[in-house]
Amino acid sequence: MDTAIEVEGLVVKRGKRVVLDGFSCVIPRGSVTGLLGPSGSGKTTLMRAIVGVQVVAGGTVTVLGHPAGSAPLRRKIGYLTQAPSVYADLTVAENTRYFASLYRLRSADADRAIEAVGLADHRNQLVANLSGGQRSRASLACAIVSRPEVLVLDEPTVGQDPVLRDELWDHFRRLAADGATVLVSSHVMDEANRCDRLLLIREGVLIADDTPAAVKTAAGTQDLDEAFLRLIKQQAVAA
């Protein structure tokens, strides 16, 4: 198994709270890994540490063999923040073209990304005038425009209609099939079945790190919500 992301003993404090305390995990290359857990469990913090914008108190994060956030990685990483981070006073096309230009890509690449997120009909609309779901897809277009080797997506499917959500997941799967490493956070358990691997995280602690099938087998249930619950209880008994 070829490793894309390796997190070892990561400690992150936000304010006085320790969000991640000695967190470790390994994410294989060319896979879709789901990062699942309730709100406030440390998913976003972990993703921020992986893309290198989080101040960390200890531990190491290595991405494609480089320390997270180092200069060579900035051409190879795509990051979708939880709240859409695009310019509301630019159109979808202008936003995507700007992010494309940062990687010296042309507007044809921007158009392809807009197409991939299903916003071709809205390309000349100001982001400020889009719906919440469309905005977050505009933001997604800017994250995938550079065809990054590592794509870190913080809740990309929130607020999307089911058909579109399905298409987005197909797209993530295609990217992974082409060799990209995709890390997707979600708190919707039914999306977990579409991942190659799952990281279940709760209160900064890794509860499971396995394939969806193995997680379900370990918990003895076919329902991932239920599996999550059982695994937490097992953990509590063990501790």
């Binding site: 290198g52 956030g69 310019y87 006073d89 940062l102």
Partner: protein
Amino acid sequence: MILASTIRRIITQLRHDPRTIAMIIVVPTLLITLIYFMYEGMPNIFDRIALTMLGIFPFIVMFLITSIAMLRERTTGTLERLFTTPVGKLDLLFGYGVAFGLAAAVQAAVAAGFAYWVLDMHTAGSVSLVILIAVANAVLGVALGLLCSAFARTEFQAVQFMPLVVAPQLLLCGLFVPREEMAGWLQAISNLLPMSYSVEALTEVGANAEPTGIMWRDLTIVVGAIVVALILGAATLRRRTP
């Protein structure tokens, strides 16, 4: 390349906001017209005050616009995302400096053109020097705006920096009381404020047909202040945040 597309992006954002463009272009001209009628029949006083105002407006407007624009980059997450891309801090700082500097040049040209040819303002020196100093002042406003945005968490806080940064410079720049006549300690403070030098430079253009040594020295000091503010601004731009 990244710098060029960043400049283009910022100007495009501005272009999508015609109301702001109108305010940038029209408001200084309206205010100078107001000053004209306040001092009707006193052309010498109008010349002096209008000339000073041509330097001060771009500073105030660009300071405000920049501090809000940069605060938005910080609060909407675009800054965080940009820092995961190949964008450099200098691309951002110079991007804002150049884009808003260009807007300021248009603003200064319109306001100065109106003051000279419609309101009959007179200066011994050339109008192009007046515009040059006005643009330097605007870029100073951009640089200080970038810096101050780091200390504001909300837009409410950001606008509060305007009286803090602008008012003392306006009061002590020599417009209300000549700097030589101020108490020693006020003069000392005035000597530390960059706007004192840009106003002095403008006064030099007003009084002398040819650019003077004092004017060039003052302009150099303003440029120095811009560089210092940009360096401090760069220090507040962190790729990693808590």
